[in-house]
């Protein structure tokens, strides 16, 4: 089976327009989360939102598409290759994409096709010179990780030589009102894994990785990935964490990695009471309670379809720089099962990282990233 490497990446967020700017912000404990006075809610709320300048660009593209295109173009610049090749795949990850189109009345059948994710992906692929048919992953909050796993599988099976995997979501009235209706939004910036955690903070970002079957000098190996389902509840996580553990176990088996070989866990860590408890239980089942763990939601908020990509990119640069990023918002432990939450920025020799995500519909995903140097 072909090996798969992450050879280029980009994060476009309120913390910077490329990965290096984002890493600088994280090293300075900067968060994109601010108190927002926006038309999408009657009351001010905390969120990490992109400014309007980041969302503008080509006039025939929507704000959602402009941030995706900016992210993909930056990643492509960082990797010299022949992209208009039929053996280059293009995967778009998003939960709601262009949903803002249907927030405005009246909704005509003509706008239905424009809101569709495959339509959006097709337009972007054409603009970018991609000749293969785009694949859209829309799988709640694991979309970003599942998109990376899908890209990995396409290269492993020999369908493509390289795959551009990109993802984004914008926080619109549709999304905000929905999470608010679940009473899931924290009144303060989110506090992942903390005893006083009180819900999620939403965020906006676009992020891109280029996966390739060909290794480069500083590429990171994507050595395993798997997906599972709780088969329990569509909007509440598993009570036991067994199913997230199943995805972790399968991804580690594929990578040929044991618990003792994992140096960093990049958790989903949404800062809801139930999610963080479920994750802590899964990590306990995997025998990794003492492995340094972070959630990056305190910097970015929950960026939905971009989250798995954003957090994987930060994690793979953690491996490259031997740097453990702290969990912003965390101060005192408060999960049912203990986990080793990173509190301060510190260096450590890092080889392998486990990245996880979970979402509505009972879905869980895990990947393994390895530093080859």
């Amino acid at each position: 089976m072909n090996k798969v490497y992450v050879v280029a990446d980009n994060i476009l967020s309120p913390l910077g327009k490329d990965t290096s700017a984002n890493l600088s912000s994280l090293k300075n404990r900067q968060s994109g989360i601010r108190l927002q006075h926006s038309g999408i809610s009657d009351k001010p709320f905390y969120a990490s939102l992109l400014d309007s300048g980041s969302k503008s660009g080509h006039p025939s593209f929507t704000a959602f598409e402009n941030i995706v295109l900016a992210s993909v173009k930056d990643a492509m610049q960082n990797h010299e290759d022949d992209f208009p090749d039929p053996r280059t795949g293009f995967i778009l990850s998003s939960t709601k994409g262009n949903i803002s189109i249907i927030e405005k009345e009246p909704v005509h059948a003509g706008t239905w096709s424009r809101v569709g994710l495959s339509e959006s992906a097709g337009r972007m692929a054409e603009y970018l010179g991609i000749v293969s048919e785009p694949v859209v992953v829309s799988h709640a909050c694991i979309s970003g990780l599942l998109a990376m796993i899908t890209g990995m599988r396409m290269i492993q099976s020999g369908m493509y030589d390289q795959v551009i995997v990109t993802g984004a979501d914008l926080i619109t009235a549709f999304i905000f009102s929905g999470f608010q209706s679940f009473q899931a939004i924290s009144p303060e910036p989110c506090k992942p894994f903390d005893a006083d955690r009180d819900g999620i903070t939403l965020g906006e970002a676009a992020a891109t990785v280029i996966l390739s079957g060909n290794k480069t000098d500083d590429s990171i190996l994507l050595s395993g990935g798997s997906v599972s389902n709780d088969a329990n509840h569509i909007s509440g996580p598993s009570r036991t964490g067994e199913e997230l553990f199943l995805a972790i176990r399968n991804s580690m088996k594929q990578a040929g990695v044991k618990a003792a070989g994992i140096d960093l866990i990049s958790a989903h860590g949404t800062a809801t009471r139930y999610n963080d408890d479920m994750e802590a239980k899964a990590i306990h089942l995997a025998g990794m309670s003492s492995v340094p763990l972070n959630s990056l939601k305190g910097y970015y908020g929950h960026t939905l379809g971009a989250a798995g990509l954003v957090e994987s990119i930060i994690s793979l640069h953690s491996l490259k720089e031997n740097l453990l990023f702290p969990t912003l918002g965390f101060s005192s432990p408060g999960t049912e099962m203990p986990v080793n939450v990173i509190k301060e920025l510190r260096t450590a020799k890092l080889g392998k990282c486990l990245k996880t995500a979970s979402g509505f519909g009972g879905c869980n995903a895990a990947i393994i990233l390895e530093n080859l140097n």
Partner: protein
């Protein structure tokens, strides 16, 4: 009465949760029930051994439009949760206790090449021993479900799970 509700009665699903679902989930659960009807699937496979890989062209747009119309008057969490296309997979997983690999993809039209490559990859990686895959799409008055059960051994009537085989199945079915 709605066609899906009629099917529910006809096949005597006896699953009260069905009535809380959006149309896409109802379609997916009914299609799965019909697919597995009279098979010994539940006895043949463990809960981690079944994959669910679904695709469509309209995502969750049917319920997105309903949610968008009602969100200002009062957002409903029971409606909002269905505004993700993978919820149909979650509903199927809950009903049949499938905990294995699952994925939801959006394409303009059914993509047999991708589906065959993705699902065969899951078998090759030994992540699953069987898979429910195909197309489940619902928007307004238009709906279509084409589900396949993929196993490593089959009867003489079984179609080989190749891109050619499933594209042919897609082109000749009108359900």
């Amino acid at each position: 009465m709605d066609f899906l509700d009629e099917l529910y009665r006809h096949y005597q699903l006896g699953y009260p949760k069905f009535h809380k679902m959006d149309q896409l989930s109802k379609l997916g659960v009914l299609a799965t029930d019909i697919l597995l009807n009279e098979s010994d699937h539940a006895n043949k496979y463990g809960s981690d051994e079944t994959g669910i890989v679904l695709s469509n062209s309209h995502g969750s747009l049917d319920v997105d439009l309903k949610y968008a119309r009602t969100m200002e008057a009062g957002a409903s969490p029971a409606l909002f949760v269905y505004t993700l296309p993978n919820i149909v997979i979650g509903e199927i997983a809950i009903k049949y206790k499938f905990r294995g690999e699952n994925a939801f993809f959006v394409f303009k039209t059914f993509n047999g090449n991708f589906m065959a490559a993705y699902v065969n990859g899951l078998f090759d990686s030994k992540l699953i021993r069987n898979c429910i895959c195909g197309w489940v799409d619902y928007l307004g008055e238009d709906y279509r479900a084409l589900l396949m059960l993929v196993e490593t051994s089959g009867s003489e009537k079984a179609i080989p799970f190749t891109a050619e085989g499933i594209n042919l199945l897609n082109n000749t079915s009108h359900g």
